[in-house]
Symmetry: C2
């Protein structure tokens, strides 16, 4: 009798915690939080809506992503600042580029992981998608500093690259700067990192611990979710310094877009991508949470609440796609030489 | 009858070309050229003589090799200058390190591939092996610029790293700078690249084309093999500028070791690792071959001969081991911050 009763209580507790989780999923869904779909067809609709991605394009895009010869110096690749080994970012406050130039606006490198889910690219949202975005840093003087023509000449001087473009796009492909950026972007589209959080949103009640669920609930209740929502848990344009001034607002001259709007960063893998904010001045999740409470929401988030939300944020660290490090086709005698000095 | 006769002639031709190849293998062996052994036991004796390498150490060594947090700035890893995607080197004349400092002696980054077969490390051969070598660039001001203590603090501040060291070396392991360098070196020991040349030396007569065999034969006849021999096709200390002065000798102040000796570079993957020589001033194999003929051997190697030897050298491009790009454990709040500026 006693044993049966205990089992019933345990079962009841399970149902009850499961019911709590179900309520939380509903609350999250109502707050416009969405999972990275586990169903591959659904995911593909999001990351490859035109059905463009093929293994050949993916492999080529990966090579270009890792190829430092896309920079003037031959020393900086996309992966330098958006390092797939380090949460898709670079661990420093402001991006460092060609000739060790810091970003002139003191802007922090955003993660490339899940960037496909952003509604706009760059901190000021000036770019609508990754194929457009990828053209920027390659050319920017303080980043990779390579004029379009140089990039085209470098890639076209390497027959193995041209053959890969032909295999990917057909014999008549013209290997233009835009085509190179497009191909990099297709690779970036696949850099999505599903996490336990996504399993939870899809109904697996025990995918998040009790503490993580509490943190998620608080994240919604406090209003963080008003900017950090949708699949990216961020990624849309939002007003900045709504209530109070950001303590480090004077580090760098970034003031958002023409309307003072800022592209909210994704919170996925946020535990791996310190330092935080557009100018990389905050190094802990708790301080970042409290700062946003004050600056954006005009509320005081206490230490305990910040810790709880941080516990949830850590559950956003996702599984990274396995990437085999490429062996790049060698330069030829015709390849424009690096200008590193 | 006629068919049989033709078949006999073909067979004869085959035997004959095979016999030529056999003679060339003997000639190469007599000249102390040696293959990377295809038998795994033989290879292991060379790259892991103490039987130290385990999957856990290898994975950890790979992570450390790719981790830019071993540099002061968090921006430069071993792989920055010894890029496994680019023949194990960096494509620029002189290595560029911390704060974009060029190597003060204008020295070119040697390839890490097959470095385990070198009899000494660094251009002046001052280091006996890779475990010792790996300590140098991490600390050197113009390279990764990280004091030992900083590297130890960074790695020890990341529990996932400490756990990996414990899994690799046992619970009582002390994660010292030396242990970190040792582990990187073990990974580097596995970066060997067998090629068709090795198959040829092991008796597969058609592994090299007729043209490549002719180039190899000429490589031996001209005397290149007097410095470029053994498994690395180089890798030992040799006198430099034996007969004539190197045209670019004044670029940088490198003059070799105390006795004017220079560590001969491996010629494996040489087609992938331009520019050439200690100060990276020559960009084509043919010019490099002719220069060495004049400077080291006091002979005139004509264009046709240089082209033939270059054809052989291209056959030294080997198969690279597959490397899955690591996902590195994230920094913690205790991890010393990057000093990038």
């Amino acid at each position: 009798m006693r044993k049966i009763a205990l089992a019933s209580i345990t079962a009841l507790a399970f149902i009850s915690s499961s019911a709590v989780a179900n309520d939380l999923v509903k609350k999250a869904t109502d707050a416009n939080l969405k999972p990275i779909p586990s169903k591959i067809e659904e995911l593909n609709k999001l990351i490859d809506p035109k059905g463009e991605i093929t293994p050949a394009k993916l492999e080529l895009g990966k090579k270009l992503y890792f190829d430092p010869r896309l920079s003037k110096s031959n020393l900086i690749s996309c992966n330098t600042c958006h390092n797939l080994a380090l949460g898709g970012a670079d661990t420093v406050s402001a991006a460092i580029g060609h000739k060790w130039t810091a970003n002139p606006h003191h802007l922090n490198s955003p993660t490339v992981y899940n960037a496909v889910f952003n509604k706009a690219q760059f901190w000021d949202g000036r770019s609508p998608h990754l194929a457009d975005q990828a053209q920027g840093p390659i050319q920017a003087g303080p980043e990779m500093a390579a004029p379009k023509e140089l990039v085209e000449k470098r890639v076209n001087s390497i027959p193995a690259y041209v053959e890969e473009f032909q295999a990917a796009y057909g014999k008549d492909v013209k290997v233009t700067f835009e085509k190179i950026a497009d191909t990099i972007a297709l690779f970036e589209h696949t850099l999505v990192t599903p996490s336990r959080y996504d399993e939870f949103l899809e109904g697996k009640a025990d995918a998040l611990t009790k503490e993580e669920q509490d943190g998620l609930s608080l994240f919604i209740d406090k209003g963080c979710v008003s900017c950090h929502n949708d699949i990216a848990v961020g990624g849309s344009m939002q007003p900045f310094q709504v209530v109070n001034k950001y303590k480090f607002a004077d580090v760098g001259d970034f003031k958002g877009d023409a309307n003072g709007m800022v592209r909210t960063p994704t919170l996925r893998n946020i535990a791996e991508t310190a330092p935080y904010f557009h100018n990389g001045q905050v190094w802990t999740l708790e301080e970042a949470v409290k700062t946003m409470g004050s600056v954006q929401l005009g509320i005081d988030i206490n230490d305990k609440e910040a810790a709880s939300i941080a516990t949830f944020l850590k559950a956003l660290t996702g599984k990274k796609p396995e990437v085999v490090y490429p062996v790049l086709p060698a330069s030829t005698y015709d390849t424009p030489k690096p200008d590193a000095m």
